[in-house]
């Protein structure tokens, strides 16, 4: 390959192929990323061409900002619960789909209809978050026109005269949103874990079976360690998703760019957008962007370190 590239005239070809992609990428991705750091040290309003350098003032103000602090706290809560719940459910279903049909004769096999389950479970993944927002807005309606209230009323768990105001209850709203994320994500991670499980050689399972390992043991001692890489990756992805949450919060909850009732569902992304587009505090919003980046990076490093295991070759 290298002798091909060394001949003359290749430089023009290489440059020609790289110039457009690189130019677009630099203009719309890299340069804005870099600029954010700069703007985060200014009191720029966004509208005026002039602005002053204020040093770390924005960051200091962030630490004082009650709304931002509660948003940060909510993000951290989601950061713990979204990955844990989604991964546990996905692992459970993946194990059921792939090893649930175990019988005496055939060792380990998937249940009948496992392909069907994978197709159904995965579908939410191709729906846009906007569709999910409208759908679950209707499911969580605060009267019996909402699917959840209607069901609970039918079962006698909710008084039809006083249905639960899911998205307007300060202590419920965040968990309602969390359920939407889990509903959306489980199918994808099920398929992901299934793919990983299927790449595990059958004879490992058969050996475990011969040694007398039960279902639970097979799962904990054989399946889980072999899947650890995928679990780790999933945790990072879900963590990044839990740091975002903008679409769901801003469209499903009350308030300008969501966050209601009374900031109980606020996340950093909604505070950022409100400060940028509504209050016109661009410099301040940039400082929030930087904090979000730092947290995302810390999250990735911590997750990867905390879940580090010996890599198993098979």
């Amino acid at each position: 390959m290298s002798h091909v590239a060394r001949s003359k005239g290749r430089a023009g070809f290489i440059a020609g192929f790289l110039i457009l992609p690189l130019a677009l990428y630099l203009t719309f991705v890299i340069w804005p990323y870099v600029q954010t750091f700069g703007y985060s040290f200014t009191n720029w309003s966004g509208q005026s061409p002039t602005f002053g350098f204020v040093g770390l003032e924005n960051y200091a103000a962030l630490m004082e900002d009650e709304v931002f602090r509660s948003a940060l706290w909510h993000n951290l809560l989601l950061l713990v619960f979204v990955p844990v719940i989604t991964i546990l459910l996905a692992l459970f279903f993946a194990f059921m789909v792939n090893a649930g049909g175990r019988s005496g004769a055939g060792g380990v096999r998937g249940v009948r209809g496992s392909a069907f389950y994978k197709i159904v479970y995965f579908f939410p993944q191709v729906l846009s978050l906007a569709i999910l927002a409208v759908l679950f807005g209707a499911v969580y309606r605060s009267d019996t026109g909402g699917l959840l209230n209607a069901f609970l009323a039918k079962l006698g768990l909710v008084d039809p005269a006083h249905p639960v105001e899911w998205l307007n209850q300060p202590d419920l709203v965040l968990w309602c949103l969390l359920l939407v994320v889990v509903w959306h994500g489980v199918g994808f991670y099920l398929v992901l874990f299934s793919a990983a499980m299927q790449s595990v050689p059958k004879d490992i399972y058969e050996a475990a079976l011969l040694d007398g390992a039960g279902r639970g043991q097979t799962f904990l001692r054989v399946t889980l360690p072999l899947l650890w890489d995928s679990v780790q990756t999933s945790a990072v992805y879900l963590g990044i998703a839990a740091m975002d949450m903008f679409v769901l919060v801003s469209t499903m909850t009350s308030g300008q760019f969501g966050g209601g009732p009374d900031h109980h569902s606020e996340v950093m992304a909604t505070v950022l957008m409100r400060n940028f587009l509504y209050f016109g505090k661009s410099g301040y919003a940039c400082a929030m962007g930087v904090v979000m980046l730092l947290l995302t990076m810390i999250l990735s490093v911590v997750t990867l370190r905390a879940t580090r295991r010996e890599r198993i070759e098979f």
Binding site: T36, Y39, R102, F123, S128, V186, D211
Partner: protein
């Protein structure tokens, strides 16, 4: 249900545990049978939890507004399609069109530009190659919120706010990290011998790329293509910042996702929820069709994308 046939040489451990279960009179009921019922139970419940809200929402398009408000469990009395027609007129048709226009350009261009960059980076060693590669790939790690404020003003300065061209360019740029990453690993796996044969035949580098390498990379292109279609079709944050009418006289060019949210606000005031539900159903149907036709590739594509 799977019929369980007991093999003669069944492991002892399996037999001893199997016999501990309550067995049906005379029939060979083993552990597998019990587990089968158990797992099917859980799996079916989750399947219902996925399907039920979606079907319920689609059914809502046929109800009247008062039926929707009265009880979620009410059945539609009239099976007219007029809510769909109204939703289309309320703008869903337009939003659909805007999204199609943008994607018709952004997806092919993303694939072309991403493949070009990935190809050069994968197969031509030159000084700075690694740096440029990591430069491209690193973009996938940062949250889009980090760039949002400066991006808005960058697009504004280029006079591209609320234009299709602007959004197309931004979509291409933000799809670049993943596309380059994925295609890079794909081009690396293509055999060098074919490349060399083409060189000996006197083909130019550009020609080799378009006539030899790109067709060979088709499986990879399909996976990334689907990923980009899904990602760009479902994008919400970028259009909601970049595709706002700047003045009263400016035409609105909302994307479908934005349009649905817009419709949700409108219908909340006008109390015509069937229209909203019909709009969501209209937005869902193409995804359902695309998904069912390509579900194997979609699952494989997204899975390998995450694992790599």
């Amino acid at each position: 249900m799977t019929t369980v046939i007991k093999a003669p040489g069944e492991p002892a451990a399996e037999r001893s545990r199997g016999s501990g279960r309550p067995g049906g009179g005379g029939r060979a009921r083993s552990d597998g049978m019990v587990l089968n019922v158990f797992s099917h139970g859980f799996l079916a419940v989750w399947a219902i939890l996925i399907v039920l809200p979606l079907v319920w929402l689609a059914l809502g398009s046929f109800k009247t507004d008062s039926e929707i408000g009265a009880s979620a469990l009410s059945r539609p009395t009239n099976w007219h399609f007029d809510a769909f027609a109204r939703a289309w007129d309320k703008g869903i048709g337009g939003y659909f069109g805007h999204t199609l226009i943008v994607l018709a350009f952004s997806v092919p261009l993303t694939m072309l530009l991403g493949s070009m960059a990935a190809y050069v980076l994968a197969r031509y060693p030159f000084p700075g190659n690694r740096i440029i590669y990591y430069f491209f790939v690193s973009g996938a790690m940062f949250p889009v919120f980090l760039a949002l404020v400066p991006l808005f003003f960058m697009v504004k300065r280029l006079d591209l706010l609320n234009t299709y061209q602007g959004l197309i360019l931004v979509y291409i740029a933000y799809s670049m990290p993943f596309t380059v990453f994925f295609m890079h690993s794909f081009f690396r796996t293509l055999p060098t011998a074919v490349h060399e044969a083409a060189v000996i035949d006197g083909a130019s580098d550009t020609r080799i790329f378009f006539q030899v390498m790109l067709p060979m990379a088709r499986p990879g292109l399909i996976s990334v293509g689907i990923f980009n279609v899904l990602g760009q079709w479902n994008q919400y944050i970028l259009p909601s910042v970049l595709m706002q009418p700047q003045s009263g006289s400016d035409p609105e060019r909302y994307m479908l996702t934005q349009g649905l949210i817009q419709l949700q606000y409108q219908m909340g005031y006008q109390t015509d929820l069937p229209v909203l539900f019909a709009g969501v159903t209209i937005a869902m149907i193409p995804m359902l069709v695309v998904y069912l036709s390509f579900q194997r590739q979609i699952q494989a594509g997204l899975t390998s994308a995450t694992l790599k």
